[in-house]
């Protein structure tokens, strides 16, 4: 982890992500404009004084809207990955540690889950249960469980054969204890990598679903929704589309690079003791 801060790519990515997160959390205090206030006099303004990023088709402040949208987009992504990690790690460890029946049951269920195209599942859920942030978290989270579970499962297979597992057993440790103390900390590294890479995917998926109108309904602001609403007016002003698209792009890139760096730093072949 300490090596992470020495890596230049990681430093840039972490700085960028922290900036987005901090600004979005403080946006209500930083920006003089309310992101929802419609103003007919200030439609399609380019970036400039007063409105640093310009305004959209209703004259609303784009800076405020982009960072208010970040809250929801990143929040949904984070909680869906949290859900995916908790379920994926639990299922992966159980499948990998017990083998046999559990392994077959869990891994086959995961194979089945992977068959569904994400968008179709999302449309299905939203049309049945309505669109809300919570539903989106569940959909994205559950769709990401298989990836986490598979990675954790394969790591567990390696760790369970290590002698310290047998040594713990020979000292009278129960199965639950072994899974918590011997397996879990030793599979955490690949799980963290998956979390970071998954965040990138989740942002993309959330934006995609919102763009298709399957995300939280307006007045809630998400990046995907902003792009969709303003795309019609691109010939008049491209800024309302540019900012959220750029942020989607950069955020995904940052999470992916961060994931790659994390993976490299955990590669035992590159690691020095």
């Amino acid at each position: 982890m300490r090596n992470l801060l020495k890596d230049r790519r990681a430093k840039v990515c972490i700085a960028f992500l922290l900036l987005v997160i901090v600004v979005s959390l403080l946006i209500d205090h930083l920006s003089p404009h309310d992101p929802q206030t419609v103003n007919g006099d200030s439609r399609f303004l380019p970036p400039g004084k007063g409105f640093l990023m310009g305004t959209d088709e209703f004259g609303r402040d784009l800076l405020g809207r982009v960072f208010t949208g970040a809250k929801l987009t990143l929040g949904i992504s984070f909680f869906s990955m949290l859900l995916a990690s908790v379920l994926g790690i639990a299922l992966g460890i159980v499948a990998g540690y017990y083998r046999g029946f559990f392994e077959k049951l869990i891994m086959r269920l995961i194979d089945i889950t992977l068959c569904f195209p994400p968008i179709v599942v999302a449309i299905f859920v939203v049309s049945f249960f309505g669109s809300s942030a919570a539903h989106l978290i569940c959909v994205i989270g559950l769709l990401y469980v298989p990836r986490v579970a598979r990675v954790v499962y394969s790591s567990t297979l390696t760790v369970r054969e290590m002698q310290h597992v047998e040594a713990s057993k020979s000292m009278g440790a129960s199965n639950l204890r072994i899974m918590l103390i011997n397996i879990f900390p030793n599979i955490l590294a690949p799980a963290v990598v998956q979390f970071s890479l998954g965040m990138g995917h989740a942002v993309l998926m959330e934006s995609g679903l919102s763009f298709l109108g399957l995300g939280p309904a307006p007045p809630a602001i998400t990046w995907g929704r902003m792009v969709q609403q303003s795309a019609r007016f691109m010939d008049i002003s491209y800024f309302p589309v540019l900012w959220p698209s750029l942020l989607i792009c950069l955020t995904i890139l940052a999470f992916n690079i961060l994931g790659d760096v994390l993976r490299d730093s955990m590669d035992p072949r590159l690691k020095s003791l």
Binding site: Q163, H164, E166, A167, S170, M171, G172, A173, P185
Partner: protein
């Protein structure tokens, strides 16, 4: 008459494979008295480790399966216990040290955390007490500066130190029986001698019985009093160490002893027992050692000999001695 701590009776262990059921341990019986050291020798794949894992009930099942026999520890058949009861025995009454000190410790916790963890799994004591006990254990196994070493991670220790830490963990609850499965194989010779010396000392101090499993007769000679030679899943000879080295009865033991390098000999090539341990699925019909035995006769190919008592606590499984059932010297 003596205090038997552990008695293994007619142990049968099978492994189910896609090609059929392999009987890996076939009718092994032995006993260990309180405070005694028993050595088990044999080459790879003869069932030594499977026997020890069976005693701990740590055999991976499936594919492994204890098909028959009894393992009586302090008058209680371990094979009848539930998994939960077994957890109470492991570590507390019987503990085990392993071959690979490099991987036997959990890399993400300090050795202190791991040892106190193990103590607290069995005893209700505070974390602080457990820690001071841990320091005491580390001191006992000869780790210098134990108070600092408790907060080291396994990768910060050398192989010999790790094995010492492992022994400290195994002994932390003063078990009555320690099973050491090739404890020195992965260590270099000087460290090996130190670890063996340590085990001998601790055995005296704690009045504990040890089952030492190894393929190294030198190690056996150094530490144990009684030794059991295994071949292809069966016991082929059992004797006191001195008697065994003086006059091996079984041709296999003879071969093993002849393959030990001698400092004062001028021979250039070491003695080799020709052939391989037969695969557990394709064991010969008669004596299991017959295909490799220089003395093999016609009867050896046909029927398997029984374990013959030779007097003086010795027994051997070989047709050579069928006419002298009490014939030991």
């Amino acid at each position: 008459m003596t205090d038997t701590l552990l008695a293994v009776e007619d142990l049968q262990v099978e492994f189910k494979t896609s090609e059929g059921t392999a009987t890996v341990v076939d009718g092994v019986s032995f006993s260990v008295n309180k405070g005694e050291t028993l050595g088990i020798v044999g080459e790879s794949g003869c069932g030594k480790s499977v026997t020890s894992l069976s005693i701990m009930r740590l055999l991976p099942t499936p594919p492994g399966n204890i098909a028959g026999g009894r393992i009586v520890f302090q008058g209680q058949n371990l094979l009848d216990l539930s998994e939960h009861e077994m957890c109470g025995i492991r570590g507390h009454d019987i503990s085990m040290i392993f071959q690979e000190p490099m991987t036997s410790l959990n890399p993400v916790y300090t050795i202190g955390q791991q040892i106190s963890e193990a103590i607290r799994a069995h005893k209700k004591i505070s974390a602080r007490e457990a820690r001071s006990q841990t320091v005491k254990m580390l001191e006992m196994v000869g780790i210098p500066e134990p108070a600092q070493r408790v907060s080291n991670y396994p990768h910060q220790l050398s192989g010999g130190m790790r094995q010492r830490a492992m022994i400290a963990m195994a002994l932390s609850l003063t078990p009555k029986l320690l099973i050491a499965d090739e404890p020195t194989t992965a260590l270099d010779v000087t460290i090996q001698a130190q670890i063996l010396e340590l085990m001998r000392r601790i055995k005296e101090e704690m009045d504990m019985a040890i089952i030492l499993i190894t393929h190294d007769l030198g190690v056996i000679a150094e530490v144990t009093k009684r030794v059991m030679v295994m071949y292809a899943g069966t016991v082929v000879e059992e004797a006191l160490v001195d008697d065994l080295f003086l006059k091996p009865y079984h041709p296999y033991t003879e071969g093993l002893l002849a393959s030990i390098p001698q400092l004062n000999s001028t021979q250039e090539r070491l003695h080799v027992i020709e052939g391989m341990v037969p695969h557990a699925l394709q064991r010969p019909r008669g004596c299991r050692f017959a295909p490799r035995c220089p003395y093999a006769e016609e009867i050896c190919q046909r029927t398997e000999p029984a374990l013959l008592a030779m007097g003086g606590g010795r027994s051997v499984r070989c047709w050579k001695y069928k006419n002298s059932p009490q014939g030991g010297e």
